[in-house]
Amino acid sequence: MITQFANPLRFQKLSRPLLWISNIGALILSLWGLYLALIGSPPDYLQSETVRIMYIHVPAAWLAMLCYSSMAFAALVFIVWKHTLAGLYIRAIAPVGATFTAICLITGSIWGYPTWGTWWVWDARLTSVLILFFLYLGVVALCDAFENRDKSLTAAAWLCLIGIVNMPIIKFSVDWWNTLHQPSSLSSFSQIAQPAIAGDMLTPLLVMAGAYLCLFATLAIIRLNNEILLRKLENARLRESRA
């Protein structure tokens, strides 16, 4: 499968239909999810209306983590097998992941003000997400830090690999330390049967998560194609400057 996509040209061909699917999916799911989140779902009994922020906040957080994990995997592939596409994937995804993280941070602190009475507290969860954000920035910075483009990508890949230690910290910080932030209520699928949050809150959450996922797929495909086109442009330049 990976090897199927590994060839950039084949990737460009295969990605077109996928792009359509993810596009339409993002549109429909986000409309439906937003309806459920803002109108179709009841206010929380103690958080009242502010709970609706959750439907933006939580999927953003999940996607932020998903982006980084996928980047780390791509990094491994790039370092071991030197598949250019994997390197380009890191380049393409880093800004997207940074954006999701920023959304998570911003909505989180907006939510924190009414519920915790402060925009920001320095607990483990919040800090680790902040670190994640800076890791994304570091990857973006490394992606064109060197004159030699292969060097830049490999360096960025190594940073991704090191940064993976931050993932479990984010995920389990709520369980390891006693934080203001509440623990995961969807940590396992067995819980989806009887989740810690009511079903009429769970459905919009999952729908929104689906919408975010489609959006992520769309952005990933588009940006990856752009990276490939940029490569080709650069190669054209190399070709003429060789003369």
Partner: protein, 231 residues
Amino acid sequence: MTLFTGENLASVRNGRIIFETLSFALSGGDILALTGPNGTGKTSLLRMMGGLLDYQDGTMSWDGAPVTDSPPCHWLGAENPLKAKLSLWDNLAFWYGCLHSSCPPDAAHDSTHDKDSAILHAMEAMNIAHLKDTPLRYFSTGQKRRANLARLFLHHRPLWLLDEPATGLDFETKQILIAALEQHTKSGGIAVIATHRPDLWHANQNLDMREQQQSKPEVCLHTSAARTTNV
């Protein structure tokens, strides 16, 4: 008439006397080749001529008047003062701005007054006009060198100071440069070239730096007034 002269110049670099009583006299149309093994002071002398190195003793004069800062020259050192991220055009535009800020073009030599045509002319002189919008980091060694040489044509300066200009140049570019030198000297210009191959440049004067060294290398305590206080 002699245009550019230096009389018993002395250079001391971190305590070692490189040369002590070096003199030269150049008139319009001359090409002076500086030769000699490594470390004998070719680059040092060239820098001195360009006002890039203090000389501990002696005098230099341009057109009769003693040189204060630097004579009206083009400096072409070992490195290429070009930015990898900028396009060729932007790089040359930068140098055009620097050169013209110091002194305006004189009608005699600079045929074109407006910026764009001057830059275009310089690029064509080194035939790299097709790379106009390419960032420098995509250039090969030789092309970078050519882009650097193009600076010589942005603005006329009577004195060219070239440090091993042949490095990194392929055959035809060498030919272009030789032709350009000829053209420059014909119009009354002067060129000083530090090189390992004097034959290449049709130099009519040759200064062998090896002969400038003292038989026994003296070492002096004072960096200033080298010749007086040897120990």
